[in-house]
Symmetry: C2
Subunit: 140 residues, 2 copies
DNA sequence: AATTAAGTAACTTCAGTGATTACATTTGTC
DNA sequence: GACAAATGTAATCACTGAAGTTACTTAATT
């Protein structure tokens, strides 16, 4: 959803876009978009103005925004679930497993983010534009 | 939790372990462990017998089980949330964004799994055993 | 001043996960 | 064969997090 919003902003390069219009593209509620935009503002990816005729726009060019930045801006939760209950400390495995796995998972998450870094918002836009099946009617 | 269970099984090499004992280490309910074991059985990572004196054990040596296999066995959901509502097809971005992002996310997930492949269950066990702080009392 | 749009709080809805209980089924042992 | 031990499995509940919704406040433009 965050990438979708940013893609729309990139699409209308520089123009201010209201949360209502973004919400229409994502097909959701403007408030959801605004909450999302707050996270993106904190990450300095978008600038949002208030008042009439205002809205949001990218704070950098689409080529200088990659999906890892978007991921970090939005995804505050760890991808790997940490169990609610603590393991049994009396068990030799249970006692130490958590900190061991934390390292493994941190490494995996870093690998994931490194991959996301390879894709910029500009790349997403050109992929969207290139997928011509979207723009054209199906020919028989 | 899956790694924890498998680590305990690796710890007691070859011995059959009951779901009740595994549940005690993870500090959860035996039924939860059994449901987890079903997924691990399907992935051919453990063998489980029924009846008295039975239980589960690894179906391969810990050195031949890596965390990517565990991840695939257990994690049936995609790590990236796909919005419940479909984007607005009338919007040029909304119309195509989904399939574009699917590719990006598949690549990121592949990167994540490649990283997890590098860690075997044997590696987890030796890391757990090596973290001596667990076995010793704090000597301030 | 009026209008437009974001910021934000409060509430509801919904899905996923873990937890719990209960029961059927299978296996090993006496 | 009877009994005990252990899994398979269904039904139900509680909890959590995300999305959605409504409503109100605040700020900026005209």
């Amino acid at each position: 959803m965050a990438v979708h919003v940013l893609a729309v902003l990139a699409y209308k390069e520089g123009d201010r876009v209201t949360s209502a219009l973004l919400a229409a593209s994502v097909n959701t509620n403007p408030v959801i978009v605004r909450r999302l935009l707050l996270a993106l503002q904190r990450a300095k990816l978008v600038e949002t103005g208030k008042g009439a005729g205002s809205g949001s726009r990218l704070s950098r060019s689409p080529g200088h925004i990659n999906l890892a930045q978007v991921y970090r801006a939005v995804e505050d939760v760890e991808p790997f679930a940490t169990p609610s209950r603590k393991p049994n400390a009396a068990c030799p495995v249970g006692h130490c497993i958590r900190e061991t796995l934390d390292k493994v998972f941190a490494s995996a998450q870093a690998a994931l983010e490194r991959d996301l870094e390879k894709t910029t918002l500009a790349g997403v836009i050109s992929a969207v534009k290139a997928s011509g099946v979207c723009a054209r009617k199906k020919v028989d």
